[in-house]
């Protein structure tokens, strides 16, 4: 008997893992018409794992106080062997993750996989999106560069427009009147521990929901019909389906490889894409550099605030949209999932994408 078989036998006798492996790999059947968009979950897991690993590595050399932070990052970039690689992968990786998150959300919206009985999956996923953006925002401050300092100042300043408690909110976020050591302290704690501690269980819950409810069937093809709402729990089976392992996992592997190729292409050949010049000057609270802008994924919010005559209104509109999206599965109770038969939804969907892209481009040039 091979070594592998012996090990599996050992575990199987004690934990019954053969059964678990079968149920989740070779006998786990996916709908036949499953498409490439369903790989994005695996892509995101891989990318987050890379963020986690590079993050821990950076922790070895990073110093989280205002006197040493910038110098420690410079040391990582210049002295530590391959420090430049770890840091750049971490920074570029964050951006690729946001891209993948948006694509994942867009495909779920288009195929209406958020609808009953998968509302909880959607809520968990949306919260994961918000937490990821939170990790992007807090991580941005840590290098303590001009870009870090002033982008954080602008981002936290917008909360001052909240009526009554606005200024108190800004002070709370910053740990003081201005961005400084208290801000760095709390952002570091949130970025390294606070957000990840919530993020981890949320991801596990999200995966549990996906597995427990069963993978949704793509709403395409001649014979697709919307299903009746179920009065009791039933795991969605696909008896005519294809095994997850090895059939679909091969597709997962291919898309993961292509996303990693994109990540490393940017890391090696266009690292400046996400590093404007202000990212390499140490923070100076007395000098605001020209043209400080948030990262591309926040440009829509930035431009919205500039467009509305009152910042409070701009904030309120954004808050409203985010809340609407969070509770979408409870607002959209129609059972129909085929895009061709959801004209209102698809119109709003396309408009939403155009608005996002348009506002972002406008924000970039304004």
């Amino acid at each position: 008997m091979g070594v592998k078989t012996k090990i599996v036998d050992f575990l199987d006798v004690r934990l019954g893992i053969r059964d678990i492996l079968e149920q989740n790999l070779t006998k786990y059947l996916l709908p036949r018409n499953i498409n490439v968009w369903y790989t994005l979950g695996a892509v995101l897991l891989t990318l987050f794992a890379i963020q986690f690993a590079t993050g821990i590595l950076l922790l070895i050399y990073y110093i989280p106080n205002t006197a040493d932070a910038f110098a420690s990052v410079q040391e990582i970039m210049n002295e530590v062997p391959f420090g430049w690689l770890i840091r750049t992968v971490h920074a570029v990786g964050a951006n690729i993750i946001v891209l993948a998150l948006l694509l994942h959300m867009l495909s779920v919206l288009f195929m209406a996989s958020y609808k009953r009985p998968r509302e909880l999956t959607w809520v968990a996923g949306f919260l994961i999106l918000l937490l990821s953006l939170g990790m992007c925002l807090t991580g941005y401050l840590l290098p303590w560069s001009q870009l870090s300092f002033w982008a954080t100042t602008v981002a936290t300043e917008s909360s001052s427009e909240i009526p009554l408690v606005g200024d108190a909110v800004v002070r709370f976020l910053r740990g003081g009147a201005m961005v400084g050591q208290p801000t760095l302290g709390r952002f570091f704690a949130l970025h390294v521990m606070g957000f990840p501690l919530v993020f981890g269980p949320l991801v596990l819950f999200h995966l549990f929901c996906v597995r427990r409810a069963g993978v949704s069937r793509p709403p395409f093809g001649e014979d697709y019909r919307p299903s009746e709402p179920l009065p009791v729990f039933r795991h969605e089976e696909h008896p005519e389906g294809i095994p997850f392992f090895p059939n679909y996992m091969a597709k997962d592997a291919a898309v993961i490889a292509f996303f990693l190729a994109l990540l490393f292409a940017i890391v090696f050949f266009a690292p400046g894409l996400f590093f404007p010049p202000a990212a390499f000057d140490p923070a100076d609270p007395f000098v605001t550099p020209a043209g400080i802008k948030p990262e591309w994924y926040f440009l829509w919010a930035y431009q919205t605030l500039k467009v509305f005559p009152s910042e409070f209104l701009g904030l309120a509109v954004q808050g409203g949209m985010v809340t609407f999206l969070l509770f979408l599965p409870f607002i959209d109770r129609f059972r129909e999932r085929r895009p061709a038969k959801r004209p209102v939804f698809v119109t709003c969907y396309v408009l939403g994408i155009l608005l996002f892209v348009g506002l972002s481009i406008w924000g970039h040039y304004s």
Partner: protein, 274 residues
């Protein structure tokens, strides 16, 4: 039902109205203009001109404002800002100009005073402002040495020789500055080298003021050697960056091939599924 809808709409309108009443977006104004600029900017004629001239100068780019040279107190809005008791120096007479600028530009002042130009100060010779201007002072370059300006007082000959000796070196300094800026943009720690280059450029530029051809030529050779050392370091870094790109190309290539192989494997399964 209707009551709660009405309540909701009332609350919403109140909130929106309150929102509209709130002031427009907060500005992140960082400028606290000093009183010299605030008063003189709006003045006509020769009292206001210096401000416009100064704004495009290299001094303005580096945060050197009126009081840095003229003294006085830029925090006071009254005429007291120009009180001699507050260090105000006013407009220097011609013979005081080298000392005026030399408070900061120490090396240049030293070389100038020892030079033929310095010895001619007050007797028709040039001082700082003659070539550099006073408010619209730009970054020094060999272009300041030219036939039109130098032949105001004497033949251009030797000035031309000095210019010839320094132009190429100045050009090299400019190129290195550009290369270092590009490396800085790529995340390389260039502060030390930039400092070395700045120091070299300064010692190079101060020696023009001695207007001695032989001395300039000798010093130029020394500066070239030091420049070469910095140039060598820069080239090593550029080589390292290139090697990284090659490695990166290999990694990306391997990933793309891996992706294609996985996709082909998927296809073999797909054929069996059909």
């Amino acid at each position: 039902m209707i009551n709660s809808l009405l309540l909701f709409r009332t609350v919403l309108s109140t909130v929106v109205m309150a929102a509209v009443l709130f002031s427009p977006p907060s500005a992140l104004a960082q400028e606290t203009e000093n009183s010299c600029l605030q008063c003189h900017e709006s003045q006509p004629g020769r009292l206001g001109e210096p401000v416009t001239l100064w704004r495009t100068s290299i001094h303005a780019d580096n945060g050197i404002a009126c009081h840095s040279c003229h003294g006085g107190d830029p925090a006071l809005m009254s005429m007291e800002a120009m009180d001699p008791d507050r260090g105000f120096l006013g407009v220097p007479v011609e013979t005081d100009i080298p000392d005026f600028c030399g408070r900061c530009h120490v090396g240049v002042r030293e070389d100038y005073l020892k030079s033929a130009h310095g010895r001619a100060l007050g007797k028709g010779g040039p001082q700082c402002v003659t070539c550099h201007g006073n408010h619209r002072v730009m970054k020094a370059s060999p272009a300041l040495i030219n036939p039109q300006d130098c032949s105001r007082c004497h033949e251009y000959g030797r000035a031309g020789e000095i210019k010839g000796a320094v132009e190429e070196t100045d050009r090299l300094i400019g190129v290195l500055e550009g290369d270092l800026a590009a490396l800085h943009r790529a995340g390389i720690a260039t502060r030390e080298m930039e400092g070395e280059l700045f120091s070299l450029r300064n010692s190079f530029h101060r020696l023009f003021h001695s207007v001695e051809v032989e001395r300039v030529r000798a010093e130029t050779a020394r500066v070239r050697d030091d420049l070469e050392k910095i140039r060598h370091k820069v080239e090593q870094i550029q080589q390292t960056l290139f090697v990284r790109k090659v490695g990166g190309g290999i990694v990306v290539g391997l990933l793309v091939v891996a992706g294609l192989l996985a996709a082909f494997i998927r296809r073999t399964y797909h054929e069996e599924e059909a």
